[in-house]
């Protein structure tokens, strides 16, 4: 399935979780999210947990903590 992270399309196995697609996008970004230095939000601007289960077509954006983009 295809998931977008920061606008980049990532191909990932079905049944993947947020942390899997984030790891494939950038392991360093995943580490920052794990350390609560960054947060990952869905296309609506809501924070999602790293174990959240993915469906194809979802989009995520990585933010600095405390600086989420305005919601669509």
């Amino acid at each position: 399935m295809q998931i977008k992270v920061n606008g980049v399309a990532i191909g990932i196995f079905s049944g993947a979780r947020v942390k899997d697609v984030l790891r494939k996008y950038s392991r360093s970004e995943l580490k920052l999210v794990k350390k609560n230095k960054k947060m990952i939000c869905d296309r609506h601007g809501h924070e999602v947990g790293l174990d959240g289960e993915l469906s194809g077509g979802e989009e995520f954006v990585i933010h600095e903590c405390g600086k989420p983009e305005s919601r669509s």
Binding site: M1, G11, I12, F13, S14, G15, A16, R17, V18, D20, V21, R23, K24, R27, D42, H44, H46, E47, V48, G49, L50, D51, G52, E53, S55, E58
Partner: protein, 503 residues
């Protein structure tokens, strides 16, 4: 519904409690804040707490209990709903004997009223869920699960709760199903005897609940995007309380006039909804998340329960006895990959060296040893691969450190390099030592870590098998395999051999 809710004359208490109502603010675009509205005698304030995707993370339940207990003393009608996936994600709790016991005891103590099963509610098996259903002082609801007789006898599509002033709250449940197989994301063997339908069709049938009830709520485990679609299709709903996508929706969002809420995951937040009902309809509604991080009041009795559950005696249980200690990445990796291949019917399985977190398993192997050896909760991912793609995986792994990284079951392999560790060829051999047939497609198992972080060539994107790697090893060891084969075992070779020692 098994939990009787009190009804009766409460006008005086309601009037008293309505003072708190003035703090309520609507997330709807109301012309005047609720705080300025004059409460009418026919109005009632309802507070609904909600959790989802707890995944065995029980530590914050003492804080949750303190919050919920305090609210119940405040005079409002207070309910607590769970939107699925209480199980799986914390080995100490997952391996409790009987499975799920800590979650059951805690949800009962918290006074949970309703729960919709999530896909991980089936992970401990239907016998366990039936026990959970029977002993829980809450109702399980799901409109898109149909159980054969005797499987989940108390499961209902919906339930109606009644406040003390007689307001009727109809709630229906929904569970996520995968587009491919029409099943929730759990191992198919775990849901035999259950039939699942796609959630939206059954949700439309629930519109009938609007008649005769004052409040209509969808308690779902379908993910936030699907909740928004549901809201778009079903304006009859007052509220959707969701789960599955681990989304922290704060404040709850209004979509098509439906308030859509979800409380993150792992017990990091407690969701709190307030509804103001007047003359049989919801006139104000809002939802926020209570962040459970940091110090706050805790219920002492619940804290004691949590301490007790975290000292899970089952964790020290010996699940297998080996004739000798199993030592080193080669032996431990062979054991782990044999388990993965056996548990999931794979042709070949790989285990990366960094995922082997012990150097030695002593003769008496406990559950704790397994989770120390394999602590990451990685899923098993199956990928259909040909021999060339398998070589690509091995090559990528070798390039990480010019050394053997992947342990293997189902084949042996040799990485031949020049003196600068540049790969010259990778020989793949079947278990009998013959060359691995090049014209076949193999069912290859890797961890979700390898599948997502090793950039190798494979046409098939793969699929998670809804099982974690440590569980495969536990099942394998509990099956009593011959562990004597792991003395001095090696299946992955480097030629010429690496000069440095890896462990």
């Amino acid at each position: 519904m098994r939990r009787a809710l009190t009804t009766g004359p409460v006008a005086l208490r309601l009037l008293l409690s309505l003072s708190a109502l003035f703090a309520l603010q609507s997330c709807a675009s109301a012309p005047a804040p609720l705080a300025q509205a004059q409460p009418q005698p026919t109005e009632s304030r309802i507070v609904i707490f909600h959790s989802n995707d707890i995944h065995g993370k029980i530590d914050n339940f003492a804080k949750v209990a303190a919050i919920v207990d305090a609210e119940r003393k405040g005079g409002a009608d207070v309910f607590y709903f769970c939107a699925g996936d209480n199980f799986t994600g914390n080995p100490v709790i997952d391996q409790y004997d009987p499975p799920g016991e800590p979650i059951l005891a805690l949800l009962n103590r918290l006074g949970v009223n309703l729960m919709c099963p999530g896909n991980h509610e089936f992970d401990y098996g239907l016998d366990n869920l039936r026990k959970f259903e029977a002993e829980g002082r809450f109702s399980l609801i799901s409109a898109n699960i149909e159980a054969l007789p005797g499987i989940l006898p108390l499961l209902r599509p919906s339930a109606v709760l009644t406040t003390r002033s007689g307001i009727k709250i109809a709630v229906f449940g929904l569970i996520q199903v995968e587009a491919g197989n029409g099943l929730p994301s759990t191992h198919p063997d775990k849901v035999k005897g259950l039939r699942f339908s796609y959630p939206f069709a059954r949700a439309m049938e629930m519109k009938k609940l609007r008649a005769g009830n004052d409040v209509l709520i969808g308690l779902t485990h379908i993910g936030y995007d699907q909740d928004l679609l549901l809201a778009g299709m079903m304006p009859e709903l007052d509220v959707i309380i969701g789960g599955h996508s681990h989304t922290g929706v704060d404040p709850a969002e209004m979509a098509n006039g439906v308030l859509v809420a979800q409380a993150g995951s792992d017990n990091r937040y407690l969701g709190r909804l307030e509804l103001l009902v007047r003359n049989g309809r919801v006139i104000k509604k809002k939802g926020t998340l209570i962040d459970l991080k940091g110090p706050m009041a805790e219920a002492a009795d619940v804290k004691e329960m949590i301490v007790r559950f975290n000292q899970n005696p089952a964790f020290a249980r010996v699940i297998a006895t080996a004739p000798f200690a199993i030592e080193g990445n080669d032996a431990l990796g062979c054991l782990m990959t044999d388990a993965m291949r056996w548990a999931h019917g794979l042709d070949i399985a790989f285990q990366n060296g960094g995922g082997i977190r012990l150097n030695r398993l002593s003769e008496k192997i406990t559950l704790k040893d397994v989770y120390t050896l394999d602590p990451f909760g990685n899923q098993v991912v199956e990928i259909a691969m040909n021999a060339e793609e398998i070589r690509s995986l091995i090559a990528v792994s070798f390039a990480k450190g010019h050394d053997i990284d992947l342990q293997v079951s189902g084949i042996t392999y040799v990485v031949r390099t020049d003196s600068d560790w540049h790969i010259q060829e990778i020989l793949l051999r079947a278990p009998d030592g013959s060359p691995l047939p090049e014209d076949r497609i193999y069912k290859v198992g890797v961890s979700s870590y390898v599948a997502s972080s090793y950039n190798f060539v494979h046409k098939d994107p793969g699929r998670a098998l809804n099982a974690i790697t440590a569980d495969a090893l536990i099942r394998f060891l509990e099956g009593g395999p011959d562990l004597s084969v792991y003395r001095g075992i090696q299946r992955a070779y480097q030629d010429p051999p690496a000069l440095r020692t890896r462990y």
